[in-house]
C-alpha cells in the first residue's frame, strides 16, 4: 500500500512499512472486537446469534 512500490526483476515486491503495520493492527483490533463481542454474547445470552425468545 505504499506509494513507493519496489519492482525487482519485473515482480512486485511488498514493502513492510508503517501503513502495513497500521493495517495489520486495525485488522487485529477488528478481529479482537468481533471475538470479544461473540464471547460476551455467548456468556450473557448463551448464543452468538440473534433470536427472539
Amino acid at each position: 500500500m505504499s506509494p513507493n512500490r519496489q519492482i525487482r526483476g519485473g515482480k512486485v515486491v511488498p514493502v513492510a512499512n508503517l501503513y502495513t503495520i497500521i493495517l495489520g493492527l486495525a485488522f487485529f483490533v477488528v478481529l479482537a472486537t468481533a471475538v470479544f463481542v461473540a464471547y460476551k454474547c455467548y456468556i450473557q445470552y448463551e448464543t452468538i446469534y440473534f433470536s427472539i425468545p
Binding site: 497500521i22 493495517l23 493492527l25 486495525a26 472486537t33 463481542v37 460476551k40
Partner: protein, 280 residues
C-alpha cells in the same frame, strides 16, 4: 479509515462491555413475576379460606344472636316479673313502715305504762316494807301475847285445880245433908270453838321453757323465757330430758325474752332443746 475502524471498534467494545445483561434482568423479572403470581394465588386461596371462615362465623354469630334474642325475651319477662315483685315489696315496705310507726307509738305507750307500773311497783315496795315492819311488830306482839297466854293457861290450870279441890270440899260438906251444889253460872260465855291458825296457801310458779344455749366451759346456760314470762334472778329451774333429770339451774341474769343461769347438780351435760321448769 484504518484509524476510524479502530476507533469504531473501541466504541463497540466499550458499549458491549458496559451494556446491561437483559437476559439476566429478564430472568430476574420472570422469577419475580412467578413469585408474585404464586403469592397472588396463595393470597387468593387465603382470601377464599377466610371468606369461608367468615361465612361460618357469620352463621354461628347469627345463630348466637337468635339465641341471645330469645334470652333477651326471657330476661325481659323475668325483668317484668321482678318489677312486679319490686312493686309488691315496696308496697310491703310502706305497709311495714306504717306498722313500725304504729309499733313505735305502741312502744312509747308501753314505755309510759311501764314507767307508771314501775312507779306503782316502787309504791308497792314501800308498802311492802311498811307491811314487813307491821308484820314484825305484830310478831313481837304475838310473842308477847303467847307469853301472856302461857301465863294465863298456867293460872287457868291452877284455878281448875283449885275448883276441883273446892268442889270436893263442898261435896264432902253437902253430902251429909243430902244436897248437891247448884251448877255455877258464869257471866262470861264459854267459847264455842277453839281458834286455829289459818292454813298457809302456797302456789306453784309453773314456769316452763327450753334450753337455748349451753356454755360447758363456764357451766352456764341460757333459756327461752325471761322477765316477760315471770322469771326472776335467784329462781331455780330443773333441766330435764324426757323423764330424765339432767341438772339444776340457778338464774343469775334475766332479760325480757331470755335468762341466763349457772348449772348445778350436773348429772349429764345439758343440750339445747332440753326442757326447763320450776316444778318437776
Amino acid at each position: 479509515m484504518t484509524i476510524s475502524s479502530i476507533f469504531l471498534c473501541g466504541i463497540v467494545v466499550t458499549y458491549v462491555a458496559l451494556a446491561d445483561n437483559y437476559k439476566e434482568q429478564y430472568n430476574d423479572m420472570k422469577t419475580d413475576r412467578d413469585s408474585f403470581k404464586e403469592t397472588a394465588e396463595s393470597k387468593t386461596e387465603q382470601y377464599n379460606q377466610k371468606d369461608a371462615e367468615k361465612v361460618a362465623i357469620e352463621n354461628k354469630l347469627n345463630s348466637e344472636i337468635a339465641k341471645l334474642n330469645t334470652e333477651i325475651g326471657t330476661l325481659k319477662g323475668q325483668l317484668k316479673d321482678f318489677e312486679d315483685q319490686r312493686k309488691n315489696w315496696l308496697q310491703r315496705v310502706s305497709d311495714m313502715a306504717s306498722v313500725v310507726e304504729t309499733t313505735t307509738q305502741t312502744s312509747k305507750e308501753t314505755t309510759k305504762l311501764m314507767m307508771d307500773k314501775e312507779a306503782e311497783l316502787n309504791k308497792l315496795k314501800a308498802e311492802r316494807i311498811k307491811l314487813i315492819d307491821q308484820f314484825e311488830d305484830t310478831s313481837t306482839t304475838l310473842l308477847e301475847k303467847l307469853a301472856v297466854i302461857q301465863t294465863l293457861e298456867k293460872e287457868k290450870k291452877q284455878l281448875i285445880e283449885e275448883k276441883v279441890e273446892l268442889q270436893n270440899r263442898l261435896d264432902k260438906l253437902l253430902q251429909p245433908t243430902g244436897r248437891t251444889p247448884a251448877p255455877v253460872v258464869t257471866i262470861t260465855p264459854k267459847p264455842t270453838e277453839i281458834a286455829r291458825p289459818a292454813p298457809v296457801i302456797a302456789k306453784k310458779i309453773g314456769l316452763k321453757g327450753q334450753v337455748t344455749a349451753v356454755d360447758t366451759k363456764n357451766k352456764m346456760a341460757s333459756i327461752s323465757i325471761g322477765t316477760a314470762d315471770g322469771v326472776k334472778e335467784g329462781m331455780k329451774f330443773h333441766v330435764t330430758r324426757g323423764d330424765k333429770f339432767i341438772c339444776d339451774m340457778l338464774i343469775i341474769d334475766t332479760d325480757a325474752e331470755e335468762a341466763v343461769g349457772a348449772l348445778e347438780l350436773v348429772q349429764e351435760q345439758p343440750r339445747p332443746g332440753d326442757t326447763v321448769s320450776t316444778n318437776l
